[in-house]
């Protein structure tokens, strides 16, 4: 992509530079989608221990929940898999308004 038109941040590049700068970070990746999920499989979000983030796994629907889980992952050092869907209102506070479901893998960068 040309520099002038690149609207999507280089999440993997940011993840590397944050870690090299001594910031503890976690990488969230959309690993599976069902139905009309807003972001495709392979989409990334990078999160640091203070809750700063770059990228997108859902176009804004569930980023808040992913960020708070990621802070736990950074603390424990253990990866986890999260699932979000409109049908899971009892299990999760947030869901996808589009009616799709997504699974997100969250891993620490060490």
């Amino acid at each position: 992509m040309s520099d002038t038109t690149q609207a999507v941040p280089d999440v993997l590049g940011i993840a590397e530079s944050w870690t090299l700068a001594g910031r503890k970070a976690a990488l969230a990746t959309v690993i599976e989608t069902w139905g009309s999920a807003p972001r495709p499989v392979g989409s990334h979000l990078v999160i640091d221990a203070e809750g700063n983030f770059e990228g997108s796994v859902s176009g804004g629907c569930v980023e808040g929940a992913v960020v708070s889980e990621a802070i736990d992952v950074i603390t424990t050092g253990k990866p986890t898999t999260l699932e979000f869907g409109v049908a899971d209102e009892t299990a999760w506070r947030v869901g996808l308004s589009c009616g799709g479901r997504i699974r997100v893998y969250v891993e620490p960068i060490v």
């Binding site: 038109t5 590049g13 870690t19 392979g42 893998y105 960068i109």
Partner: protein, 230 residues
């Protein structure tokens, strides 16, 4: 993820080399497969080859459990042979659509920065430029000079490398002559028929900017629906 793995992946991305990060979902182990690696003995060899072609990340279920493949292929690049009127319209359109664009034309009267601001422009022969900036399967190439001396080499090179789109401007008559030349040069019939000619999606385009729309539409179709393109 190990920082060293992340750095290695980013290094491949920075140099337009495809790579796949394999994450074992049960054990948590991870490894990086580079496009240039010999991965024929890898338990996921078939899947890796397929993913390098499709460029899509995804989950793979195997006897040993599930693995997630983070597939990184270079951003699509559009190489335009010929700094003509069509090209002037096509460059900004393709840039807006997210393509990394390069224009090559040895005719210095055509290839001027005034006519092509904000794009990688080479007033040199394609033979020379492609030596230092080689084509790869994640490139599309459109040749629009009408001059076989300029167009033929990069078209043949694009077919050889397996660019995801190869298009050539010219009437059916011009293209028939081109097909004869390419056959004489030893290029297979299947490769020759892969050339998009007459160039562009058939939308009745007549002006150069309209032809640019048709070419860009064909390139996007080749990228997104490769199976439907002959």
């Amino acid at each position: 993820m190990d920082l060293s793995l992340l750095s290695a992946l980013n290094e491949e991305r920075a140099t337009r080399r495809a790579a796949i990060l394999v994450s074992d979902m049960a054990g948590g182990g991870q490894r990086l497969i580079r496009w240039a690696d010999d991965f024929t003995d890898d338990p996921l060899a078939d899947e890796l080859a397929r993913r390098f072609r499709s460029g899509t990340s995804g989950m793979v279920e195997r006897d040993g459990g599930a693995a997630f493949l983070t597939v990184s292929v270079p951003p699509p690049r559009l190489v335009l042979i010929g700094a003509v009127h069509i090209t002037q319209a096509l460059v900004p359109m393709a840039q807006i659509a997210g393509f990394n664009v390069t224009v090559i034309d040895p005719r210095t009267a055509f290839a001027t920065p005034d006519r092509f601001p904000g794009v990688a422009l080479h007033a040199e022969w394609p033979e020379d430029v492609l030596k230092t900036e080689p084509l790869d399967p994640y490139c599309a190439l459109a040749a629009v000079t009408h001059d076989p001396k300029i167009d033929d080499f990069p078209l043949q090179e694009a077919l050889r490398v397996g660019c995801f789109y190869v298009g050539a401007l010219g009437s059916r008559k011009t293209h028939a002559k081109r097909m004869e030349r390419f056959a004489e040069a030893g290029i297979g019939a299947a490769d020759i028929s892969a050339i998009d000619a007459p160039i562009g999606l058939d939308i009745g385009a007549s002006s150069p900017p309209e032809i640019a729309v048709a070419v860009l539409a064909s390139v996007v179709k080749a990228l997104r629906r490769p199976m439907e393109v002959a």
